[in-house]
Symmetry: C2
Subunit: 185 residues, 2 copies
């Protein structure tokens, strides 16, 4: 099996991180992977907002917790009420991917860019996880101020975000579902 296949098969969602920050060169490597994702008619509609500032990370977490508590979803609300709950698993780096809303397929392009960043990270031993809650919060009215503070580009919607950091766990791949392929020859 070649190295790329190993990366594709070994990359799992990391939900526990060491507190040390990743190195500059490692971050560059991850971002470079993201920039080379394919995009519809090569629009590259994305912007990557990297947050490593602890105060700001904390603010993002608090905003997400508030939304989860407001959501009325009991399980999520109970989780969010816990003092030490972190929506991005206390990762030292968060990458928020926003895209120009006026392009053809910004949601898909941004997802592929984040997917590439996950693989670039895995290839150098760095863990990552897709963080679902943040996009919703930043696109909401409640998140307007935070969005401003993050300097998300005008005309952009936040499509996805991911946590990055050294792994404090080595997750195994859950079983793959069966019968997900049919071949017509």
């Amino acid at each position: 099996m070649n190295e790329t296949m190993k990366t594709l098969l070994n990359r799992r969602s990391t939900r526990a991180y060491k507190p040390e920050q990743i190195k500059e060169a490692e971050l560059s490597n991850i971002l470079e992977g993201g920039k080379f994702a394919p995009s519809a008619i090569n629009e590259q509609p994305w912007h990557f907002t990297v947050v490593q500032n602890k105060q700001l990370l904390n603010k993002i977490n608090e905003a997400c917790k508030a939304e989860l508590i407001k959501s009325g979803h009991q399980v999520l609300a109970d989780q969010a009420k816990k003092e030490d709950f972190s929506v991005f698993y206390n990762s030292p780096t968060l990458i928020i991917v926003s895209g120009n809303e006026k392009t053809i397929t910004p949601q898909i392009d941004c997802a592929l860019a984040l997917g590439n960043m996950f693989l670039a990270a895995e290839s150098i031993g760095i863990g990552s996880c897709w963080i679902h809650a943040i996009a919703g919060v930043l696109n909401s009215e409640d998140g307007a101020e935070l969005r401003k503070e993050l300097n998300i580009p005008q005309g952009h919607m936040v499509y996805c975000s991911g946590s990055f950091g050294y792994k404090a766990m080595e997750p195994e791949a859950p079983e793959r579902k069966e019968n997900t392929v049919s071949i017509i020859r």
Copy 2:
């Protein structure tokens, strides 16, 4: 630069293919990459429909051409009217990715699976391209019969598709846009 990074940076959209079919083992490799994509709460909501049958590939192409001509978009319509026009660049293999509509983020999960398949293909020297038009046709009323013939699972929407085959061109990466990153430390 490690092998995975090379794959991420070198993988480009291939828009011309050799007519020979890819090998069984190569197809398995590609599908395996797709199956290991991340998905929201591990739902793996995807189904991969591989089409290598020439008659069926032709039918899909004709259906797409008809839709493009109907679209009223002059440039696309003119292109579709050409006898030798192929919406998937005459690739010998087409992979259609459908997803269970009742899952959390089927569109994103399916996009990531197709992105993984592109990278798995590139890692063994096989070209690929995202084919935009097919999903729309297969989800439309006009595409209902074809969808049935393809045996797309019940309750699934077609989210994306990609062409795969040996490259008859070696595309270079277009320039990456500048100022797509901001870092808050």
